[in-house]
Symmetry: C2
Subunit: 288 residues, 2 copies
């Protein structure tokens, strides 16, 4: 996976890009370190990679995708900061380091997340100078919001997923929406057509659900060391998961179906879909 | 004040405008009531009024200001939802009703706030189709973020205001920035020039600080009934306020100075500044 992502995002160069945007705003002392810790040198940069991949696929210039990749990563990072809050998932660690709220307090973590979400849109609005860029920004705004990621998180915390259809819907929004925003915004700014955009959307949503189903399986089958958290922690909380609904084999088979649907959607793109096939393989082959 | 605001915002029509935007997104059941309660039929709509006032002042069409007025109110309402959280100000009541977190839980309140912030930008990006509208959206994005409101809130929760200069700076950002965003975005979309925009910015920031200084005074001089909260609650918490720094008379005098500075800034606008003088009088004359 690392080698695949490195084809699209150079971790150091991407940190520089983000740092540049941070220098463009006036950050009070109380938020400087929290924002740096939440945003810089963290994570796999999967969403930025998808954004640049989308740009490549559309024959665009990767530099045009920079603001969109940066904005999406700001949105992803804010969602993690808020997700980790005591009143949400109450996770004290993230990326092997103390979570923002654990290090700086709940209040600063709320504001740090708000700041990153707002910053994403400062970047997008400043850049929305052509119809293609405005379209890319619109895609991100919608898929990050109640119609997408936030909607999925709300369904998750309220435990409204009770059957396969509603669980799938929750995962589509919670995980698929931002992956779709990344891939689609890159392709949109590269000037791709509506049909291709639709194919990429289906791919990203299906990949998102497949990934979550695999995650539910790994939650009960992995060793504690592999997973880095307590085994079975999701189902222990009485949450409906792919495994509680379908069992391990059923959930695995369903995940495979989603991966196949994802690939069917983008197969008509021919040679251009090759990296999307690779990525699906890499995500499907994930064991922890 | 009520009559003044009614000249710019019809409460019912504005609720309809907001409801229209809510119908444009796909809200999960868990967020429907929280978002309605946080956004609809609440507050004085001071910021939307300022936005329409700015539009009038620039000779614009108020309908062009609709998305900006709506977005700013979404931002204002999200900031209240997050401010009221247990880990922030821990206020159980807002507008005489249970606060969102008190009614729906902390997790839903975090997401409800996130959703309203995101919605504001969905509205702004969809509307950013002309340079004037993009400029107005940029103003709002910057002033709502770390450089503005969020920066002021972070300074507030971290208690970094220790002297008059830093207290003033905190109030400028926390309260002034969004008032400025409202007035300036309306004027920007109405096509006003940069110098007028600068005058409106100074006015709004000064009004914001003056208002907060008066608030600090009223916090210690009002009767409990007038204020609707415990007297002296701010200074009891050991917070630095205009009164702890300057005393009641000093703070009152300083507030008066800010009001005067605000009016000096917009006096060159002549007849067009009349409503801005009226508003300053109304805010300065406030006794609770």
């Amino acid at each position: 996976m690392k080698e695949f992502l490195a084809r699209y995002v150079d971790a150091e160069a991407f940190d520089k890009l983000l740092s540049g945007y941070l220098r463009g705003v006036d950050i009070p002392d109380a938020l400087k370190l929290p924002i740096d810790n939440a945003l810089l040198s963290v994570g796999k940069r999967l969403r930025p990679a998808l954004c640049y991949l989308g740009s490549d696929l559309a024959g665009g210039d990767r530099r045009d995708a920079d603001p969109f990749a940066a904005a999406i990563e700001c949105i992803h990072c804010y969602s993690l900061v808020h997700d980790d809050l005591e009143c949400m998932d109450n996770d004290a660690y993230r990326h092997g380091k103390p979570a923002i709220h654990a290090q700086f307090g709940e209040d600063i973590a709320v504001l740090c997340g708000d700041a990153l979400l707002n910053l994403a849109f400062e970047i997008l609005i400043s850049d929305a100078v052509t119809p293609a860029k405005r379209r890319a920004a619109e895609i991100i705004a919608r898929k990050a919001g109640v119609s997408g990621m936030i909607g999925g998180q709300a369904a998750d915390v309220s435990g409204s997923a009770r059957d396969l259809a509603s669980l799938e819907e929750m995962y589509r929004k919670k995980t698929g929406a931002l992956l779709a925003a990344a891939l689609m915004s890159g392709a949109a700014v590269g000037g791709t057509d509506d049909l291709t955009l639709k194919r990429l959307e289906i791919y990203a949503y299906d990949i998102g659900v497949a990934y979550q189903f695999r995650d539910d399986v790994l939650d009960v089958t992995s060793t504690r060391e592999e997973l880095g958290k307590d085994i079975g922690s999701d189902s222990d909380e009485g949450k409906v998961t792919a495994v509680t609904l379908l069992g391990v084999d059923g959930a695995n088979n369903k995940a495979k179906e989603y991966f196949e649907d994802a690939l069917d959607a983008v197969a008509p793109l021919g040679e251009r879909s090759k990296p999307l096939f690779e990525l699906a393989d890499l995500l499907g082959a994930r064991t922890f």
